[in-house]
């Protein structure tokens, strides 16, 4: 009984802390995983930044995951995100 309780508590904690293998990626690194843009967080794991299929549904136009390198008001922004299909090209992949 006690063991079951301990395992249950561990399972809940694990679930809560998103227990998963560490990817060992660099902070802020991005990639496309299928049509999902992902970003590496401070704990060294990739997490979803945006699901471009969902973005397409919400926006009423097709979006694809692609690498962008743009000069913006925030400075130079580089990484993977969802862009209109017409701009997508074949620039996906981790950097």
């Amino acid at each position: 009984m006690m063991r079951a309780l301990i395992f249950s508590a561990l399972a809940v904690c694990c679930l809560g802390a998103h227990c998963r293998p560490i990817d060992g990626c660099a902070l802020g690194a991005t990639r496309c995983n299928g049509n999902v843009a992902q970003i590496c967080d401070a704990d060294g794991s990739y997490h979803e930044l945006a699901d471009c299929d969902l973005v397409s549904e919400h926006s009423g136009a097709p979006f694809v995951c692609a690498f962008v390198d743009e000069e913006t008001e925030d400075g130079r922004v580089t990484g993977h995100t969802c862009v209109p299909e017409s701009e997508g090209g074949d620039s996906a992949g981790a950097r």
Binding site: H18, L27, D41, H58, V68, E73, D74, T81
Partner: protein, 212 residues
């Protein structure tokens, strides 16, 4: 300042871009859609207890938590303002934006279940991710209203108030900057924003920026 000006008797209306009754109707719509309730933060005993705990832990002062932050737990949204009544720090458009932000937290609650709540409390990197997603609604709303997006760095810096580390703030700033690129290309990423923009386009299209 804007909220204060909007709250002035007689002349306040001059500073109101969106009308109080429109803000109220918008909140009503979002609450109906997401099945949420709104509770005044200052009169909620549970919020007094949370404020006390945060103060005792040295995370945030009681006063600041109760006055400056809207908080969502499950489907209950605790606001430090009366919806549709402008006041200092809470102008009418800001009330619209915060409504969308908090409802994106409800979307997260629905999507992830208990793990959302637990990781939000227990894991700083996870908290930064949840807030990065919710703050994305703020920039989506800003783009609809003004045709521009606010500084990702500045937006992300508010995470310091959430007990996040500098590295969490850094990755959030990058996440928001990349999201802003998508938004400026016409993307609507968050579910709460999609629902909100549907209502705003129909009821207050005059507020939409040209080209947004």
């Amino acid at each position: 300042m804007k909220g204060y000006l909007q709250s002035l008797p007689v002349v306040g209306a001059v500073f109101q871009d969106i009308k109080p009754e429109e803000v109220w109707a918008f909140w009503r719509f979002m609450q109906d859609h997401f099945r949420t309730s709104v509770i005044n933060k200052s009169s909620a005993l549970e919020m007094q207890l949370v404020a006390q705990a945060l103060d005792a832990l040295g995370i945030q002062s009681r006063e600041r938590f109760l006055k400056n932050f809207t908080t969502t737990i499950g489907r209950r949204i605790y606001t430090p303002f009366e919806v549709g009544s402008p006041k200092g720090g809470w102008d009418l458009w800001h009330q619209v934006v915060v409504c969308v932000h908090e409802h994106q937290h409800v979307v997260q609650h629905d999507r992830e279940g208990l793990s959302y709540e637990v990781s939000y409390l227990a894991d700083r990197a996870a908290r930064a991710r949840w807030e990065a997603e919710a703050y994305r609604s703020n920039l989506e709303m800003a783009y609809w209203r003004t045709g521009t997006t606010p500084s990702a760095q500045q937006t992300a810096s508010v995470l310091k108030d959430y007990g996040c580390r500098p590295e969490d703030v850094e990755v959030t700033a990058k996440s928001l900057a990349l999201s802003a690129v998508s938004v400026r290309k016409g993307a609507v990423i968050n579910e709460a924003t999609r629902v909100a923009l549907g209502w705003l386009d129909e009821h207050v299209p005059r507020l939409r920026a040209e080209g947004a």
